[in-house]
Symmetry: C2
Subunit: 210 residues, 2 copies
DNA sequence: CATTAACCTGAACAAAAGCTCGGAAACACT
DNA sequence: AGTGTTTCCGAGCTTTTGTTCAGGTTAATG
């Protein structure tokens, strides 16, 4: 078993909230700078002094609000993931609501996912591959939980959606697989598979299965 | 676009091969120690001095064979990935050969994949999540290329395997999705999905699609 | 206006980590 | 045994980086 110590939740959060508007601006600038350096230059390039410099703030101010380096990155990723979760789950709900036209629903959902991921592509690429404490950020886990929840709910409402021996497991799996495929394709752009071919084929497959 | 510099191939390789048997032992001990520390304590814990210590070798010896820290990790991962690729692609070939019994073939292949991954679970988990230059290691890319190659070849030989509008893309996708699902399940053990349920459901899905 | 609280600054400290290098020991070969 | 080559050693140099702190500035408060 891997034993390297999990990071405590407190160490991944800001240590105090800004009270004045000026302070709110520096706070945001720090988070923004952290995300930007991470996305553009990778995890190793994210040093506290560099983040402060990019944010246009002194190193002291940085430690006024964040207890350590990790909390800056974690705050930025948490913020982004809240946005992604909101966008993706909203589109999944809409897709589920389009019961009558499964093709349109699936298509719509996949485009929404791809768009949400692509907009944060540089950041998510680095985050998924390099940030050691990524999965200690609660918002990171929330996305898949939320999607699962919506999917299972949708399955229960309209019985005819999945007929497998194990409906729960197969819904879970379908969800996971489609998500993985989109993630892979959008973030890592395999040579032989354009976005168009991906979505077309995925839709076809899902229609055969549902 | 993310601009952080790609690592040169030379920086990820051993700088000279051991000539004597004694030297071969230290060389291997270093690689082994690197992999062990990485698997057990994470990327941040892999320091050159620590690797030397765990290997029971002096720091000087380490730099006799490896130009830098990354090359130690890269060598270890390359070695492991050669093994995994060999095991997984052998089992895929056998599965493809079982044309007559698709259920047995799929089942066999998935068990082989799961076993190959699980045996290196601790190492691969950390590698996939934390090693920044992971995909600059050629052996890392070889696996999916090899699997794709075998799968596409299998499809061409027995025409009746996949009937989709875009056979190549759908084979690619199926491959990717099954691989992702197994990887996820074996390495990150989702709470609600046991290995048994996964394989059962996956087999069922594949049979419906092929 | 006076006082307190919030905010900001940046030089400097301490720890850590990658890597070098001069020299000794083990080995191969004649 | 003698000679050159390979291997090994580890103290220490250099650089980097996370973080602190004492003091100054700005904003709120009464």
């Amino acid at each position: 078993m891997s034993t390297h110590s999990r990071i405590q939740a407190a160490e991944l959060q800001a240590k105090k909230a800004p009270r004045q508007v000026r302070a709110k601006a520096t706070f945001d600038a720090i988070i923004e700078a952290g995300a930007q350096v991470l996305a553009a230059e990778g995890y190793a390039a994210v040093t506290t002094n560099r983040v402060a410099e990019v944010a246009g703030v002194s190193i002291g101010s940085l430690y006024e609000y964040f207890p350590n380096k990790q909390s800056i990155i974690a705050s930025g990723l948490a913020r982004v993931m809240r946005e992604v979760t909101a966008e993706v789950s909203a589109s999944l709900r809409e897709a589920v609501a389009l019961e009558g036209q499964p093709r349109a629903g699936i298509d719509y959902w996949m485009r929404a996912m791809a768009a949400a991921l692509e907009r944060r592509g540089d950041l998510l690429r680095v985050a998924l591959r390099e940030v050691p404490f990524l999965w200690d950020i609660p918002e990171m886990r929330d996305l898949s939980d939320t999607l699962q929840h919506i999917a299972q709910e949708g399955r229960r409402k309209s019985q005819r959606v999945v007929h497998f021996d194990d409906p729960e497991a197969s819904t879970y799996l379908l969800m996971t697989m489609v998500w993985s495929a989109i993630l892979q394709t959008v973030l890592y752009r395999p040579a032989h598979l354009s976005r168009e071919r991906l979505t077309q084929t995925l839709v076809e497959m899902l229609l055969k299965l549902l």
